[in-house]
């Protein structure tokens, strides 16, 4: 186990060193472009809803739509073949190549043909196969796999491509600039296209009512691939079918914006083949238009596990994916390592887990599945609103269940009151049962803190559990937040307008009790009657390890613990954003509808709640103001929390702080890179530091370097603490009333 961990750590380090810079520059460029481009699109949200509805409907009616496509394409004069799996699809295309005695085949970019390894199959038939998309061409020459759904050679820099081309093609004059490289590729591939006997494309969409395929490209290679040879083969997953031609419109508005941040790509080609353009025979010297050669068109619709995914309640949404790559570009971990670490046999990035599990089998997601930390930043970025982290959690859970029986289980027995199978990975189990650990750690503090921090115990934790010894461990408080509240002797306000439970999440209850206390004081100062009952932990920890059954247990307990309060008219105030995200998000999948609604509709993030009170006319005078000068100064650098941002809550904190006189500058990097247990794990420590550095840099820039750093999430605070010399604070510590107990 431990050597496997170091191997993985080493591999990640190596990819970061060789490919990290290019990936980061490109992915972040696309991502920033996307924010700007979608901001320009009126009705962005309405388009997303429509796109999702179209996909949902199409997948629902898929068998019927496949038949419809068959009819329309055949009416147009083409042929449709539904291939069961990769071998079946390859056999069909090989036979075509054989019949046509094809020597040269040109292809435009298609992940689906990567999925089935069509190039190898055609090469085995003796065909010379050329990728005409420049990114794919680079990979073909370099003999590498794509590292991004949309920009397959995202990990290569211009200098690397130049070196590669100069070595491989040995041109008369050395190629250097992007212009020269492009001109060379254009020329070289132009000749291949002229010679081609068959053109192969994918399809971004296929419309059932007109038999039209849409190809979204910028280079023009797809158009040439279709126009020049007289035989066109399109290979598309069955999920690419949408019902009507008009359904294309929202996708045309969304796909490029989501992917690379362009409003639209140079070309969106709509073909209902066979196309009316005359094929070009470059050996002939009569006018092209006179060439009466018949065009042939074949549409290969690929199943390869998709129809099973359709039956799978948890994986089904993967089929809504339009492969735009937005989830990858917005993923902090992907920005550091790219698809060669964060991908499986074919697909890469967040949604790749679903794709790989569906088309290549669950184990193909093993290597990279952990890299999704569940931060949820991708969720709002997906144009079809797929809950990508949930799909990752499900695949993780299924892999846990399929794991072999472990030998080290006795070590954590007692620490693992969970619902998971015996063989589950020890490290995952350890982090998944963080609630029990915290209870124990707190009860034995300060001894537990001291023991945990000795070198021998750090070494043991590293060896057995894979907890990186470079990471500071949380320190448990002896008196929990709940106990503090119980022992306190403060009269409850009578006739309060508001009643709230401050939710004692694990961190607030055992480790960062100060922020719990500050929350209580703040709310009381605003006239809220507060209670802090002993409530179960949210289940975030087990969920992020893929322990769904255990998380479900927690959810039920939380709901039962809070039910009397909700019935008595209390609101629930959460300090830890990831717990609020559970209540509003994942609990929908873990609880029945009634229980979910009861809790979700009445829970608030602490600053959202304070904001609400102020908006309702509560006087903020008793709170701490910037001018009070408790050492923080009035200039703040604020890092919201990833899940808080997904829920669009960060503005409440900023707003409240500003009302109290603070000058707030917000971070705009995607994530701090910690995401709970992630940064503790030995195999991911370096990656978490690399991701964190983007945030670190932002907070060390000249205009932020003197600001007091504040962050909402525990993991962000821990990460920032490790990155910066300044100690970060939770924003509640700035607004709690002065002269506190």
């Amino acid at each position: 186990m431990s050597s496997e961990r170091s191997r993985k750590a080493e591999r990640i380090r190596q990819i970061m060193a060789t490919e990290g810079d290019s990936v980061e520059r490109n992915a972040r460029g696309f991502n920033e472009g996307r924010y700007e481009s979608v901001a320009r699109l009126e009705d962005y949200d309405a388009y997303k809803d429509r796109a999702r509805a179209i996909k949902a409907d199409a997948i629902e009616r898929l068998p019927e739509l496949i038949e419809r496509v068959r009819e329309t394409v055949e009416e147009n004069g083409g042929t449709v073949y539904v291939a069961e799996d990769a071998a079946d699809a390859n056999r069909y295309v090989r036979e075509l190549a054989r019949e046509r005695a094809a020597e040269t085949v040109v292809k435009s970019k298609s992940m689906t043909t990567e999925e089935i390894d069509l190039n190898e199959a055609l090469a085995a038939e003796g065909c010379d196969v050329w990728e005409t998309d420049l990114g794919e061409f680079v990979l073909q020459v370099a003999d590498e796999a794509p590292s991004h759904l949309v920009a397959p050679a995202i990990h290569q820099s211009r200098a690397e491509i130049a070196a590669l081309f100069n070595e491989y093609f040995d041109p008369d004059t050395e190629l250097e600039t992007a212009e020269e490289l492009t001109a060379f590729a254009r020329e070289y591939l132009g000749e291949r296209i002229e010679d081609a006997d068959i053109g192969v494309t994918g399809a971004n969409f296929v419309t059932a009512d007109t038999g039209t395929m849409a190809l979204v490209t910028s280079e023009g290679n797809a158009r040439k691939t279709v126009a020049v040879p007289d035989t066109h083969v399109a290979v598309a997953g069955v999920e690419k079918i949408i019902p009507t031609f008009e359904d294309l419109q929202p996708f045309v508005e969304l796909i490029a914006r989501s992917g690379t941040g362009q409003d639209i790509t140079s070309y969106v080609s709509l073909f209902s083949p066979p196309v009316s353009t005359p094929p070009v025979d470059f050996d002939d010297d009569g006018p092209i238009a006179d060439d009466s050669a018949d065009r042939e068109f074949h549409l290969v619709l690929l199943d390869n596990g998709r129809m099973d995914m359709r039956e799978d309640d948890q994986l089904r949404e993967t089929l809504y994916c339009i492969r735009c790559g937005a989830c990858s570009n917005s993923c902090a971990n992907f920005q550091s390592v790219g698809g060669h670490a964060f991908g499986g046999e074919t697909y890469s990035g967040g949604i790749a887990t679903g794709w790989e599990a569906g088309v290549h089998g669950q184990e193909s997601a093993d290597e990279f599945n952990d890299l999704c930390t569940g931060c949820s930043r991708c969720v709002n970025q997906c144009p079809v609103k797929i809950d990508i982290p949930w799909i990752n959690t499900v695949v993780r859970d299924r892999r846990n269940r399929g794991a072999e029986d472990g030998r080290l289980d006795f070590l954590v027995e007692g620490l693992t009151p969970d619902e998971e199978p015996a063989g589950m990975d020890l490290q995952k189990r350890f982090f998944g049962n963080f609630a029990t650990l915290s209870k124990l750690g707190s009860a034995t503090a300060p001894v537990s803190n001291w023991v945990a921090d000795t070198l021998p115990s750090r070494l043991a934790m590293e060896r057995v559990l894979g907890i990186d010894r470079r990471r500071d461990l949380p320190e448990f408080d002896r008196e929990t937040f709940v106990e503090w509240f119980r022992n306190r002797d403060v009269p409850r306000p009578v006739d309060a307008d508001y009643h709230a439970v401050v939710y004692p999440d694990l961190y607030t209850n055992y480790i960062r009790t100060d922020r719990g206390k500050a929350t209580v004081r703040t709310l009381e100062a605003l006239g809220v009657a507060v209670d802090v009952p002993d409530v179960a932990s949210s289940g975030r920890a087990p969920l992020s390890q893929g322990m769904i059954a255990t998380a479900e247990d927690h959810a039920r307990e939380v709901s039962a613990d809070l039910e009397p309060y909700l019935e008595a008219g209390y609101d629930v105030v959460a300090v830890e954003p990831s717990d609020l995200a559970m209540f509003r998000g994942e609990y929908e999948r873990l609880l029945d509808e009634r229980r979910y609604r009861a809790l979700a509709e009445r829970s608030y993030e602490v600053f959202e709640y304070i904001y609400g009170l102020l908006e309702n006319g509560v006087d903020p005078a008793p709170l701490g103001h910037a001018s009070d000068g408790d050492g923080a100064g009035s200039a703040l650098a604020y890092h919201s929390h990833c899940q808080q941002r997904t829920l669009e809550l960060e503005a409440y904190t900023t707003n409240v702080l500003e009302r109290l006189g603070y000058d707030v500058l917000e971070s705009d990097v995607e994530c701090c890179g910690m995401a709970g247990s992630f940064g503790y794990k030995r195999e991911y420590y370096d990656l978490s530091v690399d991701v964190g550095e983007r945030l670190g840099e932002q907070f060390e820039a000249p205009d932020t370097a003197d600001r007091t750093v504040v962050a909402s999430g525990t993991s962000c605070l821990e990460q920032l603490d490790g990155l910066l010399a300044r100690q970060p604070r939770h924003p509640i510590s700035l607004v709690e009333p002065d002269g506190s107990e």
Binding site: T182, A227, L270, S276, T277, P278, P287, I288
Partner: protein, 170 residues
């Protein structure tokens, strides 16, 4: 408020497409100014203007296709809010003439402008449903960022130029 035509022009500009406005009467003269030679093209499916009589090969051979510096073709629609033109494929090789040469001159009539994609898809839907179905929504020149920087003119044209034929002011 910009007119539809002005919006189309502004957006063509922002997708690196040069624009010249002309009237049916001045069309041939305007075109002669913006065409590089050797030029190829496909007959325009319009009543008011034509390419006949200009120095443009309308039935190119493969060699002429390969050697042409400029291609002139018609656009069926212009989409104002994107600066997009809709190019159709025809048996006389419109698609090829707009794709192979370095410079693509697109002839679009003012009367064929629509406001947005929704309107464009409505029009196209009617056409595709009657079985007449190939079109390229083209926005600016061919481009790639795959070689480490943004480069224009990859497999398709490096330069695009729209000639807008204004409606006759009757």
């Amino acid at each position: 408020m910009q007119t539809q035509l002005e919006m189309f022009e502004t957006n063509l500009g922002s997708v690196r497409t040069a624009v010249t406005r002309t009237s049916p009467a001045a069309f041939q003269e305007t075109l002669a100014d913006v065409v590089d030679e050797p030029a190829i093209g496909a007959p325009l499916p319009f009543e008011e203007v034509s390419l006949e009589g200009l120095d443009i090969v309308l039935e190119p051979t493969p060699d002429q296709l390969r050697e042409a510096a400029c291609g002139v073709t018609a656009a069926a629609l212009g989409v104002a809010d994107y600066g997009t033109v809709v190019l159709e494929s025809t048996p006389d090789g419109t698609e090829l003439a707009g794709l192979f040469p370095d410079r693509h001159v697109i002839v679009v009539r003012e009367r064929d402008l629509v406001d947005d994609m929704a309107a464009a898809f409505e029009r196209l839907g009617e056409r595709f449903r009657t079985g007449d179905g190939d079109a390229v929504l083209a926005t600016g020149p061919s481009a790639t960022a795959d070689m480490g920087e943004l480069v224009y003119g990859v497999h398709g044209p490096r330069e695009t130029h729209a000639v807008i034929v204004e409606d006759d002011a009757e």
